[in-house]
């Protein structure tokens, strides 16, 4: 007999790359836990289904995980839409659900059974403002925003705090997740003459964006976020990536054993270097496992309470939740140096990083 953790994750379609990392991360956590004897001797099984990052698919999948597979906890290795739709089902069926990296602010608002182990966009946006305005001392900033929930919530957080750090937003541009050609934006940004650029995006948009900015002769600092956080970003942007800073959850040079161990174990398992999404999948699974161990029963209410009371060190830092189920942890700042991600700073200003409570 096994104890089941359910997971919805995109394995096909446009989000398949992130889905794969998240799944491997979660699998790693389960393997590690099983090697330590599972949950009080019972083996843990990770049941996962491909949701193509679509709400339409994630709703029946949530029902299936709960009704058919009778999972104790669900985790989402998927994007916002799919996660948001599934969270309602988990909430109404009384099964705890942890979002590994989906950013949509409403996810945790589904109710008290829903948690998130990654930052809401706003929090990270605020960290970005502090990084640029205070730590780098740059004041004239151009904001380039990815037009989706991720980019928008980052921009909202950034703009809310920009003035506090003396930042003057000289111009703002939006682009869509499908864009890879940024020629027009580059031309315009050049004429804006900024001191720094705050650009949201994923590695596959940010890679081309950064290299085109550099080719266009713009050499001011570019500040990104966890969406950049992949080896792939450096590969795409090549030498242009040098010096790019991001706010994220994973510290490559971490001295924390959990993080170090994760980074090396993941590379063995996956055959490529760990990234933020992988670490997030790992963290979410770890939180679920720890809670089940602590609850010691198959009572979902007890497991939920255990999750709410989480206080543990994971690959993405020290995790605890606020009343809404939002994670409280430090923001890592990473920089590209010599073709790899490295430690730059940690932002631990808990006041700035307070997650929303409602």
């Amino acid at each position: 007999d096994t104890v089941k953790i359910g997971m919805n994750v995109p394995l096909t379609g446009f989000a398949a790359a992130d889905g794969k990392s998240a799944l491997l991360g979660a699998e790693l956590a389960v393997e590690q836990a099983n090697a330590e004897g599972g949950i009080n001797g019972t083996e843990i099984e990770l049941v996962h289904y491909d949701d193509q990052a679509s709400p339409k698919q994630s709703v029946p999948i949530a029902n299936k995980l709960i009704g058919q597979d009778e999972v104790m906890v669900g985790i989402s290795g998927s994007y916002s839409g799919a996660t948001r739709a599934a969270s309602g089902i988990f909430q109404s069926e009384g099964v705890p659900y942890i979002s590994a990296f989906a950013v949509h602010p409403d996810i945790t608002k589904s109710g008290d059974y829903v948690f998130r182990t990654s930052f809401v966009g706003e929090v990270q946006g605020r960290a970005g403002a502090k990084l640029i305005g205070e730590m780098l001392g740059k004041k004239r900033v151009v904001v380039i925003t990815l037009k989706n929930d991720f980019g928008q919530s980052l921009a909202a957080g950034f703009k809310a705090k920009a003035a506090d750090f003396g930042i003057n937003i000289v111009n703002e541009y939006e682009y869509s997740i499908k864009d890879r050609q940024f020629g027009p934006i580059v031309s315009k940004v050049k004429s804006d003459k900024p001191d720094a650029i705050y650009a949201s995006g994923y590695f596959f948009t940010a890679g081309p964006l950064v290299s085109q900015l550099r080719a266009g002769g713009i050499d001011v600092p570019v500040i990104g976020q966890e969406g950049y956080d992949s080896e792939k970003f450096i590969e795409i942007a090549g030498p242009s990536s040098d010096g790019v800073l991001i706010t994220t959850s994973l510290d490559r040079d971490s001295t924390v054993p959990e993080a170090k161990e994760f980074i090396s174990a993941f590379e063995v398992k996956a055959g490529y270097k760990a990234d933020m999404v992988a670490a997030s999948g790992h963290t979410a699974a770890k939180v679920a496992i720890a809670a089940m161990r602590k609850a010691g029963t198959t009572d979902r209410q007890a497991i939920r309470d255990a999750i709410a009371a989480t206080n543990m060190v994971a690959s993405t830092g020290t995790i605890s939740f606020n009343g809404l189920g939002e994670v409280k942890k430090d923001v890592q700042v990473q920089v590209v140096k010599d073709g790899a991600w490295h430690h730059y700073a940690v932002i631990d200003d808990q006041k700035l990083l307070t997650p929303p409570v409602e």
């Binding site: 679509s54 029902n63 009704g67 928008q152």
Partner: protein, 297 residues
């Protein structure tokens, strides 16, 4: 209830919604011959309308009605604009309408913009109650489609689908018929969208994009364009196929794409065509033979 699990109920509900949605496109594309590559926009209009109305405190029924009316009205408006273009030009124009819809919704903060609309109220009927409601609407849509096909309106649609210019020459007010098809098809799509919104209870622009328009068109074409039962069957199967073939994991979409292709390549008439082919094989030989006897005047 009925011994159905929550999962099965949600599958059947999804199927039912897909059936209504596919039949709504079948009215426009199958019956009246007007190809649309942007039908998901009207699905989305229905979903947003009902979501916003019920979130504003209106009862569920008002939400549904509002969805039908708003989607139908916008459908007529788009229909009027689309009267100028034909065939593939129409297909791409409707595709453009789809993209424009998404573009507007993304930007429109009143309806959540990129963030979409969360916490949409449920139907208040419970899971299985909602399933029965969806099935009820599904059955009504099927009956309506069957009636339409047999009626003189369906007859006129056949003519228009075949050759618009000739249809005019035999006295059909082609524009009015096309608009009627658009109005009915988009209103029904609005209904399907509203049901979707209250089922998934979270909507965002991306849920009503090009992929969704293509998906519903493939349901219609695979079912057999213009056929009612073929489309019902294809919509039911295709809507849950991705969930059924979970076991092949990352080969899922490959199989799905391959199936779409293979179906068209080997049975271009869709499922309905396949059945008809078999039936016709036996009966129609005779009528041809009769004529080959030659005629003497």
């Amino acid at each position: 209830m009925l011994g159905l699990s929550g999962y099965e109920i949600s599958l059947i509900t999804s199927m039912g919604i897909a059936v209504i949605f596919a039949l709504s496109l079948n009215l426009i594309t199958g019956f009246c011959g007007q190809i649309s590559l942007g039908h998901a926009a009207f699905y989305g209009i229905g979903a947003y309308t009902s979501a916003m109305l019920t979130k504003a405190g209106m009862p569920f029924g008002v939400g549904l009605l509002g969805a039908v009316i708003v989607a139908g009205l916008i459908g007529i408006f788009i229909g009027i604009a689309s009267l100028r273009v034909r065939h593939d030009f129409l297909a791409i124009t409707t595709m453009g309408v789809g993209f424009l819809f998404i573009g507007i919704m993304r930007q429109w903060d009143l309806v959540g913009g990129e963030m979409g609309v969360s916490s949409i109220p449920g139907s208040g009927l419970g899971k299985s109650g909602f399933m029965f409601l969806v099935l009820g609407f599904g059955v009504l849509t099927v009956l309506f489609s069957l009636h339409l096909k047999r009626s003189w309106m369906g007859y006129a649609f056949d003519a228009i689908a075949d050759d618009e210019d000739t249809a005019r020459v035999v006295g059909l007010n082609v524009s009015h018929y096309k608009l009627a098809a658009f109005a009915m098809g988009t209103a029904l799509a609005g209904l399907a969208g509203a049901l979707y919104a209250h089922n998934v209870r979270f909507i965002d622009p991306e849920s009503f994009g090009f992929v969704e328009s293509i998906t519903v068109l493939s349901m219609v074409v695979i079912g057999g364009i213009g056929s009612v039962f073929g489309v019902v069957f294809a919509a039911a199967v295709l809507s849950v196929l991705p969930l059924w073939i979970q076991f092949i994991d990352e080969y899922k979409l490959l199989l799905y794409g391959g199936l779409l292709f293979a179906m068209m390549r080997f049975s271009p008439g869709g499922l309905a065509g396949l059945v008809k082919q078999i039936l016709r094989h036996i009966s129609s030989r005779k009528s041809l033979q009769k004529l080959s006897g030659g005629t003497k005047i």
